[in-house]
Symmetry: C2
Subunit: 172 residues, 2 copies
DNA sequence: CAAAATAATTGTATTATGCAACTTTCCCTT
DNA sequence: AAGGGAAAGTTGCATAATACAATTATTTTG
């Protein structure tokens, strides 16, 4: 229809599912959208994490922490393997690695088996950093996520893992 | 300890919770971190959404869709109210609005009651766009999230809503 | 009426993101 | 063994986001 309705395009009320209001406002179709909740949660979680790591070399952005752990745990790992875990393309991954090499937390060598490929190694500084970051992640899980009721934690985690794994399957 | 262990810093195996592997790699402490799953899901969901909206005026970034719906549903809404829903600061919100005004989808007036404040209104073009975007959101929910098993959908949605609302409560 | 709170903007610095084009190296088939 | 195609990374380009601090203008409060 072309008539401009002033009435919000709301979702029908569901008896067991009261609608969501934010400061008295409803959010239209987003109220029932997985994407809205995932994206909103992400924004706040990521901001919190950035602040906790503000003075570290891996602050900001989504790939550096994972890359740090992968290189720390798997000496000689290749950028393409990292890209696969990150679900990001190689340019993006390469640039993450660039910055981490520049920060002196990892080291890049040419793979001995394959001259095209690189082998990544953690530096001492990087290893120390990884330990610090593990502490920060643990702290965030305990402090930030305290709004998840204890009785919900396991269920939510199971759910997230299942959804995540299915999503990966879809994109592999 | 200062000895550099080459063995991954893995989480203890949990009988009812098999560990997560990605391409044969484990992800260290992230395996048990809410933040990892939320941030990973976000990245893929957002990329998918960006692609679906690539040729529309509200592609990319996290605030524009919500802003569009809010302005469409609440004529005269103020930027600070939008910022509150977005959980973002006013500069960020202001720039989202700038771009949407430039794109001709919303219109900015000075509020009649408060000379400091603005009142936002949807344009005809913006209203049409909102309808298109509603279609895209619906399509994404159906197509992209098909990896969520039907029997999990309700539970996951309930969980997300609860977690989201608790998170908001924490930051208000 | 002065001081404090509120609404929004501007400035700055950093980072991310995706895509396409390109180089080098390896692998496999003929 | 040679050549085509695949794979690993890099570079270039165009957009945009993001946070934070400082500033202007207006309104409210004491």
């Amino acid at each position: 229809m072309t008539t401009k309705s002033t009435a919000p395009n709301f979702i029908e009320d569901d008896f067991d599912d009261p609608h969501i209001e934010i400061g008295g406002l409803r959010i239209d179709i987003l109220e029932g959208a997985f994407s809205w909740y995932i994206r909103s949660l992400d924004a706040v979680v990521s901001r919190d994490l950035d602040r906790r790591m503000a003075d570290l070399e891996v602050a900001k952005g989504k790939g550096k922490i994972t890359t740090l752990f992968l290189v720390d745990d798997y000496p000689g790992i290749r950028p393409s393997q990292v890209a696969d875990v990150l679900m990001r393309d190689r340019p993006a991954t390469g640039r993450i690695i660039d910055r981490m090499v520049a920060a002196g937390v990892i080291r890049r060598e040419t793979s001995s088996e394959d001259q095209r490929a690189q082998a990544l190694y953690i530096t001492d500084k990087g290893h120390e950093l990884a330990e610090k970051v593990r502490g920060i992640i643990r702290a965030q899980e305990a402090e930030f996520f305290d709004f998840i009721a204890p009785e919900d934690r396991d269920q939510f985690m199971q759910m997230l893992k299942r959804v995540y794994l299915n999503m990966r399957k879809k994109w592999d």
